[in-house]
């Protein structure tokens, strides 16, 4: 019998049981997908909780989601019950023995980001993703992410307050994503999430109104995949030099997509919109990876990561 294929990965000092990561905002506060028969936390390396701010946020008025060609728009507006509540009420109930849970930290000031980091430092999350690229809130969010120096300041402020791995989520709207990545690495990030959503809108012609309550929304799904792959490719030039891993995301909806992300340089593979299309996608992607690796005589997923020939 041939050796079993090792799908586990080392990511920012963590051992993930598989490279699959369920993306922030797509899986609530951790346990929603287990409602579905056949879904298993054992198939995923980590689950990232919905974006969390220091104080609770109500979020945006509906409509918040809308299907667009090969994708969708969303403008949730970071609806969340606040960091204290997540730590006291949500985290204790999660099955930490089944998979890892990561926080997704948000703020409208450096102080808020730092405070959220300090609070999650003393919690069972195994890593903190920094969302400096949310397009759907009026303050903070993408405004930090679009300014490379501000992005690095957010990372530094959080770095000073936590020893947990920090994963900085970069915006595709960045003029020079590699430079932002470099500054964030220097400021102490342990990993990079590439990419967050692009910004878009849709129009209801009968009523001559924007469909989305917030007017604009974040565009995700297959339509952004080519952008994601290119941004991963650009980011990798810097990240590899510092040994900083990339959590690739943006339109990964099929096993084939997973291969493209991994080959381009994503050490972890993010599933968001793809879960809306197919809530049992994880098993299919894992099977696709195993099949490909065995056909190409590789015995671990890590051998595939960044194997792009250019």
């Amino acid at each position: 019998m041939s050796k079993p294929i090792d799908l586990s990965v080392n990511f920012a000092g963590l051992k993930l049981q598989t490279p699959l990561v369920l993306l922030s905002g797509c899986v609530g506060f951790g346990e929603e997908y287990t409602r579905i028969e056949g879904f298993s936390n054992a198939d995923v390396g980590a689950v990232i909780l919905k974006g969390t701010t220091l104080e609770p946020r109500m979020g945006n008025a509906p409509h918040r989601v809308y299907e667009t060609p090969a994708g969708m728009l969303n403008a949730i507006g970071l609806q969340n019950p606040g960091t204290r509540y997540v730590i006291d009420e949500v985290l204790p109930r999660l099955p930490h023995h089944e998979t890892q849970f990561w926080a997704n930290a948000n703020g409208s000031s450096l102080e808020e980001y730092a405070e959220v980091a300090a609070m999650f430092d003393d919690s069972p999350v195994t890593a903190i993703e920094i969302n400096i690229s949310c397009p759907n809130v009026k303050e903070g969010g993408v405004h930090f992410g679009n300014d490379p120096c501000m992005a690095a300041k957010v990372v530094a402020a959080m770095r000073a307050r936590t020893s947990k791995p920090l994963i900085t989520k970069l915006s595709p709207n960045n003029a020079d994503i590699a430079e932002t990545a470099r500054l964030c690495i220097e400021a102490g990030t342990d990993g990079l999430s590439v990419i967050n959503t692009l910004v878009g809108m849709a129009v209801d012609v009968e009523n001559r109104k924007p469909v989305i309550g917030n007017i604009s929304g974040g565009l995700s799904g297959p339509c952004v995949k080519p952008v994601a792959l290119w941004k991963i490719h650009q980011t990798r030039a810097v990240a590899d030099k510092h040994g900083v891993p990339i959590l690739g995301q943006g339109g990964l909806t099929t096993p084939q997509d997973a291969l493209e992300f991994a080959i381009t340089g994503a050490r972890a593979l993010g599933l968001g919109t793809g879960l809306f299309y197919d809530p049992l996608l994880c098993k299919k992607v894992l099977a696709g990876l195993e099949d490909y690796l065995s056909r190409h005589e590789m015995d671990s997923f890590e051998q595939l990561v960044g194997s792009l020939k250019v």
């Binding site: 905002g25 797509c26 899986v27 609530g28 346990e31 929603e32 997908y33 287990t34 409602r35 579905i36 028969e37 056949g38 919905k50 109500m58 979020g59 509906p62 409509h63 918040r64 989601v65 809308y66 299907e67 969708m72 969303n74 949730i76 609806q79 109930r93 999660l94 099955p95 909806t253 919109t273 879960l275 809306f276 299309y277 197919d278 809530p279 049992l280």
Partner: protein, 289 residues
Amino acid sequence: MNSNRNTIFEEQASVVAHIHHPGAQSILRLLAPKTAKSAKPGQFVHIRVSDALPLRRPISIMLTNPEKGTIDLLYKHIGEGTKQLSERKVGEVLPMLGPIGTPFDVSDTSKRYVLIGGGVGVPPIIFTADALAGKADVVVFAGSEVEFPFALKPSTFILPGITGNTTLTIASLEERNIPCRLASNAGLYGCYEGHVPSLARDYLLALSDEERSRCVLLSCGPHPMLHAVAKLGRELGVPAQLSLEEFMACAIGGCAGCVVKTIEDGQEKYRRVCVDGPVFAAELLPEFS
């Protein structure tokens, strides 16, 4: 750990029958045994209508047949998704999630459940009536502005407050001994001429205070109708449960895309229509109170 684990099934539902009715309405029968077995009235399914539109569409469950493993849906063609759904033929397979959502609360069998449905809001009303037949006191009022997509017949039940030409009922409800009357503004024969909440109001006003105090309104339909039902409930001091709609992405509680505003303990919140709803007590909804 989530106490709702393994309550929603992904089924490859094949089309068993697909019948098209006037007014761009269709009744779709799907083979989905797990959903058929566990669905409760007020719950819905999330269907991938075609590969071209991978985000699914939510549709209420109208009836289940647990023995045969089938579910019936009634939907109106309003846009690209429902149009593509209407093109699916017998034997084709539709990936489907179900059953989803918080059902109507019909746990108190000492109540009289007054069911009010409008248009393609009628399906959950039919399912609820069917489930309660022989178990609790039920009366149904259904409204439509196009021909009803059901066989109709004269009702043998006499209902207080209902007069004149309001004679027809839905045949399948009559067979299950569920009293029902119909309303329409389209001049349909045998139907009350007006909006369905007005018909329900005539009925409720004709009840004794004691009878009325046992009533609970359960309603699904277009927004103006739900507003009228909520108002009726407030006017007569009868509690109302409303089934709502909102655009959805995941339909399992993951994205918070499908929200409606509620007021709970004096605090405004956005609740998810897919799993916290689609049924909400009217008094929680500022839009309806």
